[in-house]
């Protein structure tokens, strides 16, 4: 038989299944992948360097744009790091709000992941169902912060504004009748919390629907079971975190192991997988959505009962109330000082991780006592996950590359920073 050389194949950077701008150089022997070499950096925007040139608060918005599928979780890590350096504690209501929105973000992220992963492997309908639910959560984002994705809502010392008392409503016009609008508005009559409560009641049955479509489906199983297996020890060695690690059966979740905010007061379970293949990671993420739903329910119940401040009243760190600023000279001075110069953070360094939907998202800040970070480093979970792709794909078929890429849950905003 004639000797055949390996074929080098380019995958991406404009490939629909590459989830952004990933370029893979694959060495193929027929259909079988021998080696995979991921090329990253095509979405590098220098966020870390940029943050060194701006007062602390300016970078909150840029954190949203790192992992643009789980926006508020990234803000959370940044804000927590600053708070720890400053040694301030946000009010308890703000902590609950943050936890609630972190979990909303988790569901948002997993829904997008599920939809796209499904789409890559050929489950078309699922994508539409996932986005149907995402829409409601996006509305929550918009109601609270004014933006559907890049919220810029968390602040060191709390959150920007309290939850709104009313939800925006559909309006009737000559293309849509009053009765139809009334039906569309049925869950928008109350406060934002009522809207979220209504969502959490509906959501479990929707997850059942997704599972009916996928969990037992033979095609889904053929594409995911025993694909990209990672042993637990190896997963730890590779620096996996989040669902990637839990899928391999290691029970590690920062919300339990190093509880931040009010996670230690909340009741939820950590799902883990058994085999560490794509299928188990799918099961873990689906169960995480259910658990997040429970957490949101607990937060809604608490927030409904306990009104209060959502940001600390320390005018060196947070702006004074607007009404006060208009009449009170001192408040006005604080207002000007804060918005022109910002606040100075004491000298020191801190690493502050949160359990973002993808894994451990951490922010490391070195402060030299100025109003800007001396150095900011972002630990992106996707980076460690992508680094393992060669190991996970070796020996599999070309089509499995897509399964593995999907299961990694990559977002290049965060990976390339």
């Amino acid at each position: 038989m004639a000797d055949s050389d390996n074929l080098t194949l380019n995958f991406g950077p404009q490939h629909p299944a590459a989830h952004g701008v990933l370029r893979l150089i694959m060495e193929m022997d027929g259909e079988v992948v021998h080696r995979i070499d991921p090329h990253v950096g095509l979405l590098h925007r220098g966020t870390e360097k940029l943050a060194e040139t701006k007062p602390y608060n300016h970078s909150i918005g840029y954190m949203d744009r790192l992992d643009y599928i789980s926006m508020m979780c990234c803000e959370h890590a940044y804000v927590l790091a600053i708070e720890k350096l400053l040694d301030v504690q946000p009010p308890i209501r703000a902590q609950y709000i943050r936890v609630m929105f972190d979990e909303i973000t988790r569901i948002l992220n997993h829904l997008l992941w599920l939809g796209c992963h499904g789409l890559d492997i050929g489950a078309m309908a699922l994508f539409l169902y996932c986005f149907r639910e995402r829409e409601d959560l996006m509305d929550c984002y918009e109601a609270v912060s004014g933006s559907r994705m890049h919220a810029t809502y968390y602040r060191p010392g709390g959150v920007y504004r309290d939850l709104p008392e009313e939800m925006p409503k559909y309006k009737a016009n000559r293309f849509i009748s009053k009765s139809k609008v009334k039906k569309l508005n049925y869950n928008r009559e109350g406060t934002l919390l009522d809207f979220i409560a209504d969502f959490t009641e509906r959501f479990p049955s929707k997850v059942d629907e997704y599972e009916a479509l996928l969990t037992d489906n033979r095609i889904w199983k053929q594409r995911t079971v025993n694909i990209g297996v990672v042993e637990p020890e190896r997963a730890i060695e590779l620096g996996f975190t989040g669902p990637m690690l839990r899928g391999s059966g290691v029970e590690w979740d920062l919300r339990r192991k190093e509880p931040y905010e009010v996670y230690d007061l909340l009741d939820f379970k950590i799902p883990i997988g058994l085999n560490g293949d794509c299928y188990d990671r799918y099961l873990v993420r689906v169960e995480e959505m259910r658990q997040s739903n429970l957490i949101i329910q607990q937060c809604v119940a608490w927030l409904n009962k306990n009104p209060g401040p959502v940001i600390i009243e320390d005018n060196k760190l947070t702006p004074p109330k607007r009404a006060l600023m208009k009449h009170d000279m001192e408040s006005l001075i604080y207002h000007f000082k804060l918005f022109s110069e910002g606040y100075s953070v004491p000298e020191g360094e801190i690493y502050c991780p949160v359990e973002s939907p993808k894994g451990e998202f951490g922010v490391y800040i070195v402060s030299d006592g100025a109003n800007k970070p001396y150095r900011l480093k972002v630990r992106a979970p996707s980076f460690a996950h992508l680094a393992a792709i060669n190991e996970m794909v070796k020996g599999h078929m070309l089509a499995d590359v897509v399964s593995v890429l999907g299961t990694l849950d990559l977002v290049f905003g965060e990976l390339d920073r």
Binding site: N57, A125, S147, N173, F175, N217, R218, L332
Partner: protein, 161 residues
């Protein structure tokens, strides 16, 4: 157990379960909103295109304090100022680069006289590169055109700030 599995495989039960879901959704009323005839609700806090506001008597609110340009993370606002005839400080240039702006809302938060505001306009386009610069006149015009709506929305949200 084995027999059960064989029955499951042969009857395609797993696929039929999925098809049941799709069939159910096939007959459900659709959630699609017929944009642009019907629009989805927009929150009072929505952060869209920026505008400059005036007082009721038509006087410009902006006092050229430049807080908004100082707080802008994207350096999207450029301001020049001068003393005007009536002795007040006014801007002579107030440009917002729509390509740089990240719609973070910091400028509105910072403005001490509520001059610069975020409207809920998100449907706009430009055909030439230079149109990305929104000049003072354009911003003031936008504020005039949508004054009622902006004031109504801002009042509703005022007590949260």
């Amino acid at each position: 157990m084995k027999i059960l599995n064989i029955i499951k495989t042969l009857t395609l039960i797993d696929l039929l379960k999925g098809l049941k879901v799709t069939l159910k959704n096939f007959f459900k009323p659709k959630i699609t909103v017929q944009y642009p005839e019907v629009k989805t609700p927009i929150s009072n806090r929505f952060r869209g295109k920026l505008a400059l506001m005036k007082y009721e008597n038509g006087e410009e609110r902006c006092i050229a304090c430049k807080l908004c340009s100082a707080v802008c993370p994207a350096n999207a606002i450029s301001i020049d100022s001068e003393e005007s005839e009536d002795g007040t400080r006014r801007t002579t240039r107030f440009d917002i680069d729509a390509f740089k702006c990240v719609y973070c809302g910091f400028c509105e938060e910072a403005c001490p006289v509520d001059a610069i505001v975020e409207t809920d306009i998100f449907e706009y386009h430009m055909t030439e590169n230079h149109q990305r610069l929104q000049t003072k006149e354009m911003l003031l015009q936008l504020g005039d055109d949508y004054r009622e709506k902006i004031v109504r929305k801002k009042e509703k949200d005022h007590h949260y700030k």
